[in-house]
Amino acid sequence: MKKFSIYFFLILFLNTALGADTLSLSFFQNMTDNLFQNRYSEPDQISSFNFYIDKNISGFSFFTEGNYSYLHKNPELAYYLHDIGIDYLKPVNEKTAFYFSLMGQGAFYRSDYEDFNYFSFNFLAAFKTYISQTSIMKSNYILEYKKYKYSLFDFVSHSVFLSFDKFFQTKTTLKSEISWGYKNFLHPYSSEEVIPEDYTEDHHSGRRTYIFVPKIEYEEQGIQIFSIKGLIAQGVGDRIGLRISGMKQWILSGENPFSSVEEFYMVENPSYDSYSWTGYQISSQLTVLVPWDIEFKIGYTMDNKEFHGIESMSLEGDTLDITRKDERGQFEARLEKNFPKFSIFLSYFYIDNQSNDPFFDWQSNLFSVGIELNTFINKKK
């Protein structure tokens, strides 16, 4: 109750102090039967509260957003995320505009995951132009710096993205994208080997603790990636849209500096991001506007990832001398209904992850229901 009071007063203070234009509040209840996304399923429920406030001044937008998530069976994993930023949209002419934003973010996990606490700085410059009225070119550059409590994860990254699309009168859209990224771990190596404590005990509990054992070799600290993506979208009437996309990614240089990588449900994990793998992804999605203007989306995504520098291990913790490879199939269904003042959401995911590391051979069902409420403080028309 105390935390909710603090949260409430924080929203009230920020809202008043900023003289906000927009206040948006949302609540989501998530249920999963595999919180840690590994062989030893552990169910939990996550209640997530989110607020967003913005204020426009002379074409600039100031925004701040907070999110508190509480895990009912694992309260020591509860966390709070906060963003604060400013952005600006600058048109060059009727068809072209630049967009710039600066954002700071902080993540504060409770004791069990406090190694993941971080402060980050993010700069984004984007460009969009209509080459013709049926063709768009988009490009952006992102600079990100993150400083973690566990300094092994600290990094600076740069990424560049370029896309072209073309719309045809048959309601078909073709899109191609290329992107490049470079992530530099600032100090990822330990001078001496770190032996994870109680490794085997935790190995069979759903959760591996302290598994990000840094490598002791002094190798290349940066990882360079390159990816291409193609998308074809087709509209059928006014109420149906179909989209199929494929993506292939390569690691051009460097490899993961950790001995193991893993992802966690709703926790942004620095060892498992787009820089950690090479492989491909194929995705399809059908969007249908069903009666009462309810949006229904159903999709299936298949991906194949190889984690360079990561060796698969047996359940006993012995190395298998093979590079870890995961094949994942993900089915998802979402419903969204927008009302003038609020929106409601319902979603379901089923994930089947097959890995040559038996610890990461897992299945999961996820269910989420939520409501988002928008209020407009300065009622400017």
Binding site: Y52, A97, Y130, M266, L289, F376
Partner: protein, 145 residues
């Protein structure tokens, strides 16, 4: 008595007329002038509309049956988040705020595009878009993988 009332009515009318004549057409969301149109996108532009606000995404729409043209004011933030193209279908619920010789101007409240509904304003016309952080995609609607 009846004559006095007529003169008074005339005076009130003249005062009202003189005040409103020559005044700029008000640019605001009028719920009484709300219409629903369905058409094909003819042109997409971005231009400043309001003081102290980001430039707006404007879509020029041709209604299917009547071939009437509408300048539809979408919102500032949608230029980067939605990719409209010439020839695509768009359904708009919005308020007419002025009429030109060749086209009418509309402030959009809700649009339907490629099977998705975007709510831009509430039923009274107050903006429903988030101003900042449009490219960060930080909305945390459940889980994404």
């Amino acid at each position: 008595m009846k004559r006095r009332i007529n003169i008074l009515s005339l005076l009130i009318f003249m005062v009202f007329w003189s005040v409103s004549f020559g005044q700029k057409q008000l640019h605001y969301y009028n719920v009484d002038k709300e219409i629903k149109i369905k058409g094909t996108i003819q042109k997409i532009i971005i231009e400043p509309r309001y003081k102290n606000n980001s430039p707006f995404l404007i879509v020029i729409l041709e209604e299917k049956n009547t071939r009437r043209k509408f300048n539809v004011e979408i919102s500032p933030v949608r230029f980067f988040s939605v990719d409209f193209h010439k020839g695509a279908n768009l359904e708009v619920v919005g308020s007419i705020y002025s009429k030109g010789e060749k086209s009418q101007n509309i402030i959009a409240r809700q649009i339907r595009f490629r099977g998705e509904i975007l709510v831009l304003r509430d039923k009274h016309g107050f903006p429903a878009w988030r101003g900042g952080g449009m490219m960060h995609k930080k909305k945390r609607k459940g889980n994404d993988f």
